[in-house]
Amino acid sequence: MRRRPLHAPATTSRINVTPMIDVVMCLIVFFLIVGKLAADRVEPVPLPDARAGQPPEGAGELIVNLVLEADEPTIIVEGVALSPDGLEEVVRSVLTDDPARTIRLRADKAIPFGRVRPVLEACRRAGATGVRLGAEQA
């Protein structure tokens, strides 16, 4: 048997898994965040401020975004731009499937209420008795 030298160079046979854990964790975090955004279909909207209110329900809500695009209010639901009539169809379909489902309106605070009213009217015509007004907690 060959004798080992007194000061043999240190050799590491184990794989260093720390960088792999780092990369995997970053990927998990990335996909969690992207998945959350995709599930909510949340548009970047400057919401009104509110000091009261309840936390949103999350996945169970139908989120209706009303954003200003080129100074024109646009209804966006799940990434798709809709007319008020289109919104009415979507809401009616959703409420037919699940009458208890709630609607959250996330509208730009600068939009005149006259341009928000058609959205509320469309929800009402579709059978909704109420909406949840999305706001940013002040």
Partner: protein
């Protein structure tokens, strides 16, 4: 007890081994994971953190003012919001005549304190075409803070 220093991770120095300086578990993976979790919660908070919702009823009347299927109760307070020439918003109702929203807040607080414990009132917010949506939500918020949680917007 053999192998003195085993509890600290130190090993006896002899001709073949140098002192091992690491004591206890390696902190690097734990710090890595902790930082990633911290970043995750910070990013999540930025997306979902401060948003709240205010449950609001829809008026049963249609655009032409015809009645719907929902019958409003008798105890109803109406607030009318109008855009003023100076760019502000004026409120009429709850004892006010074209008052500011701050004044409306004070009136609603008095009203809410007066009806506490009674059957809840229904507040109807009727906003003009030019009133910014943010002002409507602000009035809805004032109602909520005053304990008036049954609110209809039209």
């Amino acid at each position: 007890m053999s192998g003195g220093g085993a509890s600290t991770g130190l090993r006896r120095r002899d001709a073949r081994h140098r002192w091992e300086t690491q004591v206890g578990p390696s902190m690097t993976p734990m710090v890595d994971v902790t930082l990633v979790i911290l970043i995750f919660f910070m990013a999540s908070a930025a997306f979902i953190g401060p948003e709240v919702v205010l449950a609001t009823g829809l008026d049963a009347r249609d655009e032409a003012g015809r009645g719907g299927t929902l019958t409003l109760p008798d105890a109803v307070i109406e607030i009318r919001l109008e855009a003023s020439a100076d760019g502000g918003v004026r409120a009429t109702g709850v004892g006010l005549e074209r008052g500011t929203i701050d004044e409306l807040g004070a009136s609603l607080a008095d009203l809410g304190a007066g009806v506490a414990g009674d059957d809840p009132l229904t507040v109807i917010i009727e906003a003009g075409e030019a009133v910014p949506y943010g002002s409507v939500v602000r009035v809805r918020d004032l109602c909520e803070r005053s304990g008036l949680t049954r609110v209809v917007v039209r």
